[in-house]
Symmetry: C2
Subunit: 209 residues, 2 copies
């Protein structure tokens, strides 16, 4: 009986894992469609085609494209919050930790297709879903700002306006989704490093001024 | 007879000026609606209400919200290109000239309501209109990049990747439309100066590193 229960449980896990894997494939397919067509013109039929599903089957996983966008954004923010958490365990300067976070942010946007959808069309989300994403995004922004402030306090950075500067930084990172060309000469990791290094230089200040 | 012709011509000018003024009012009203509701959910009826016009009268000036968005973006880019041109006549360092351009860019986005619509939803524009805006935007980006490169050549800046760094800068500026709160503590001019100074510091490089 115990054996039977275990078997059942394993089989249940397997089903859940398979469903979760399918959902992730759908999110990636949808993100490709969002990027290619824009969120507004993308349709569930096109997302189903891209994910190699019938439209009816797609609705079995998600209620509509707004729900898909929500899960894309939610996953991307989880990835970014995770990098923020891990940066806390790094040895090194505040600049090193912030570089780690900014680099992970750009990689999340450019490597993971869901990431590219993360900062698009939040306004498109209906009220409750939107509130959840905005709250998570605020939590992330506040974590980045704390690093900026910490560097100001320990003398690594020269920052008089951490709120505005943090938003200037995040804008620079988020905007990569608008112009990055996956077929271009630079890999996501290169772009991430170049931009992070530039943004950190601005924080350290110009000692020649 | 000459007098009569002059009168006619003056009256024609007056009509044209009045129509042009009306179009500008509509663009500003529409930009407020786009900002409040997002481009996709905004409707011509709502834009007409905001501009204090009947929907039928609104269609006398513009064929649809895509055309309105196009003119918002076109005007904003003209303002930015104009600042770029004027920067060429400034005395001072390349950093001074670039500061002038970056500050004008943020002010255009935050002061003029049309500016806020300038970097939203380009994908929403139909092919031909979109091509015109993208070409103008490329011209502007190329002008900013030339300043970045010029500073690199004369030793003011330390820039190895001017293309990517220019986009990092423009992203930071454009993103202000996403977070700026007109009711907040900072005026557009303050935000513009703080962000421009930070972005220029990053170009000058960190001499302590």
């Amino acid at each position: 009986m115990v054996q039977l229960l275990n078997n059942r449980s394993n089989s249940g896990d397997r089903v859940r894992r398979r469903a979760e894997g399918r959902r992730q494939e759908i999110l990636r397919a949808a993100a490709r469609v969002f990027r290619r067509r824009g969120f507004d013109t993308a349709g569930m039929r096109e997302i189903a085609e891209e994910a190699d599903l019938s439209p009816g089957n797609l609705y079995h996983y998600f209620n509509g494209k707004h729900e898909i966008l929500y899960f894309c954004q939610d996953r991307a923010l989880d990835t970014m919050l995770n990098a923020l958490d891990r940066s806390g365990t790094c040895a090194g300067t505040v600049a090193d930790r912030l570089t780690f976070v900014l680099t992970a942010h750009v990689r999340c946007i450019l490597d993971d297709m869901e990431g590219a959808a993360a900062h698009l069309a939040v306004d498109a989300l209906p009220g409750e879903l939107r509130g959840h994403i905005v709250a998570k995004r605020d939590r992330y922004e506040s974590g980045v700002r704390k690093l900026v402030e910490e560097g100001g306090q320990n003398g690594e950075f020269q920052v008089r306006e951490p709120v505005i500067i943090t938003r200037a930084i995040l804008g620079s990172l988020n905007w990569t989704a608008q112009w990055f060309d996956p077929e271009g000469r630079k890999a996501p990791g290169d772009v991430a490093e170049i931009i992070a290094a530039y943004l950190i230089r601005g924080l350290k200040g110009d000692t020649r001024a």
